[in-house]
Symmetry: C2
Subunit: 340 residues, 2 copies
DNA sequence: ATGAAAGCGCTAACAG
DNA sequence: CTGTTAGCGCTTTCAT
């Protein structure tokens, strides 16, 4: 049995209250007794049981994290930022990934609540009328969304402007002379940001008077691109000359699949991704993409959350700036190139 | 104030014991009372407080995870496997990354112990005489190492054979005709597996009668390769023709830096990485590397740990198979190529 | 400065 | 089948 505060008290010949005071650095303990207690603690190799403390104080110094996947560096980087900030403020993290299963969100949050986390940072499939979020609200547990689209300021969120950035991608492609555009995305149902990016992308294109781009929806986990892509490029007259991918991981796979189809990027077709994962800059061709500040997003979200928890001022909505990185994977439209 | 078991009991006109029985699916409750209680629970929107239960049962259903970094997909994948297995067994995860700061290991484990996790999965800088590990042993907390070198079966570990795989890389390079070899690695002090890989690499080379390869140690977080690499290739007579990188992320950066130096991989120099991160297969050139089954490692480690916790049989040491992937980044030695 | 005791939310004998 | 009660380990008044 692990030693408890009682064992320490007995060994040091003091009351448990005094031991508690020593543990909690209370100033109101005589130097002599403090030393006595510290020696007993040392001797018994005593570590305070946080459960007892937490139950007593109703204050766990822990935060929950719920994200769709760790396999995407974008989320891993955010968790890294969360970890850094939480650690520096003395908070512990309880972590779950849902693997893009929306139903798991509720279960994850329920579990986190049972463990009495003081707040939760999450990315959900869809914040609108979301069960997990409703539960959080009902229980008055502070939370902040990351990555999710900022919807009507309904929820505290730290994110980027997905609509605007999707539009930026479209504009960039149009500027390069592309007209036959397409977007390929993970399940829209599993990602409100993908939907927002699509919206910005499509709106910008149609506003410019061009036809609505082709939208291709694929599975988040294992898209079978070798099956999906060829038909799209079967007819050279309708085949898109540029492809916007809803995330970098997908873009990288797409470039690979196009290669297997004999299509060269960017010579035959341009590809732009989204996320700005570090590795994109090392690829060949280097990946054109929208960089979101993932690490910072996690960091800022944690700051906001902790400020909220501690009753300090915080911003309900934080939109971090994104950067469109011009890589080699997006170039001028093939026909124009030929005319040069 | 969140409702407690007492509130539910009062509303349902039963004792707290009965409520507890309902919550815990005990069969010994009459159908009628069960329904009464469930309605009260529903009505009050009651969620059991795990702290109370945990304190009472001395059983938290939670596991700790301590890894060096989430920025490396290798660890993210392992955590993904851990998460999957833990979730399916009803365990919650408490997570910390140390960012390669060895001193943080002890602090992380101490904190996890305070929260009474039932077991811990970790990757440490050096398992030999490791403070965090000693603490775990002293407190009799089950744990299992992942990635770490299996050292004298001192610690339960799920890993690959780093020495053998390092040797495999050397052999492959020798087979390709390379003789002037070098290894570039993150701080050896922060990674026992890097040391093991080096050992296998060096031993195989010297055993084959070749000179000891050049060993270059760089920072794990931000190696300044543009500074470090050029001098090594200044003299074409001593410059290595093949480079073994201790991990894929490093290998990718190295290939980038070599490119900026005007050196082409694999034409001018071969590069082999280590880890087998998914993206390596999509690079150009595709990355030659040693694939470790990261997801599975996390999965198996969690299985082992839970089996241990639940008093079932488990294997103290599990060596998972690795695969050397032949990618385009490693080719035959330049001089040989010229002679063709 | 220190101790006694109540209580945090829940479980687990033990009765009945 | 259900209720009573004694903790689990710790904090926190309230006395002393």
């Amino acid at each position: 049995m692990a030693p408890t505060i009682k064992h320490v008290a007995k060994l040091a010949n003091v009351s448990v209250a005094t031991v508690s005071r020593v543990i909690n650095q209370s100033k109101k303990v005589k130097q002599a007794t403090r030393i006595k207690v510290e020696q007993a603690i040392e001797q018994l190799n005593f570590t305070p049981n946080a459960l007892g403390r937490n139950l007593s104080t109703a204050h766990t110094k822990s935060l929950g994290v719920v994200i769709p996947s760790l396999s995407n560096p974008v989320f891993a980087d955010a968790v890294s930022g969360i970890n850094q900030q939480a650690k520096s403020r003395g908070y512990t993290l309880m972590f779950t990934s849902t693997d893009y299963v929306a139903q798991d969100e509720l279960q994850a949050v329920t579990s986190l609540l049972a463990y009495q986390v003081e707040g939760i940072i999450l990315t959900v499939a869809n914040p609108i009328d979301n069960q997990a979020l409703n539960l959080l609200i009902k229980n008055k547990i502070p939370y902040v969304l990351i990555y999710n689209q900022a919807s009507d300021a309904q929820h505290p969120v730290v994110t980027i402007d997905n609509i605007n950035s999707g539009g930026g991608v479209a504009q960039k492609l149009l500027d390069l002379g592309h007209i036959k555009l397409a977007m390929i995305s993970g399940n829209f149902a599993a990602s409100d940001r993908a939907r927002a990016r699509k919206q910005g992308f499509v709106d910008t294109i149609t506003s410019a008077g061009h036809p609505t781009p082709l939208i291709i929806e694929v599975d988040f986990i294992e898209p079978d691109l070798d099956e999906i892509l060829p038909p799209i490029f079967a007819d050279p007259f309708t085949a898109p000359t540029a492809l916007f991918c809803s995330n970098d991981l997908l873009a990288i796979s797409v470039i690979g699949a196009l290669g297997r189809m004999g299509l060269n990027v960017p010579h035959d077709i341009s590809v732009i991704g989204f996320d700005g994962i570090a590795i994109g800059a090392h690829l060949h061709p280097t990946l054109s993409t929208v960089i979101q500040p993932s690490h910072k997003m996690g960091l800022v979200a944690t700051q906001q959350l902790l400020d909220n928890i501690n009753g300090q001022d915080y911003h309900k909505t934080v939109i971090l700036p994104h950067i469109i990185r011009t890589g080699e994977s997006a170039g001028i439209v093939p026909s124009v190139q030929i005319n040069l």
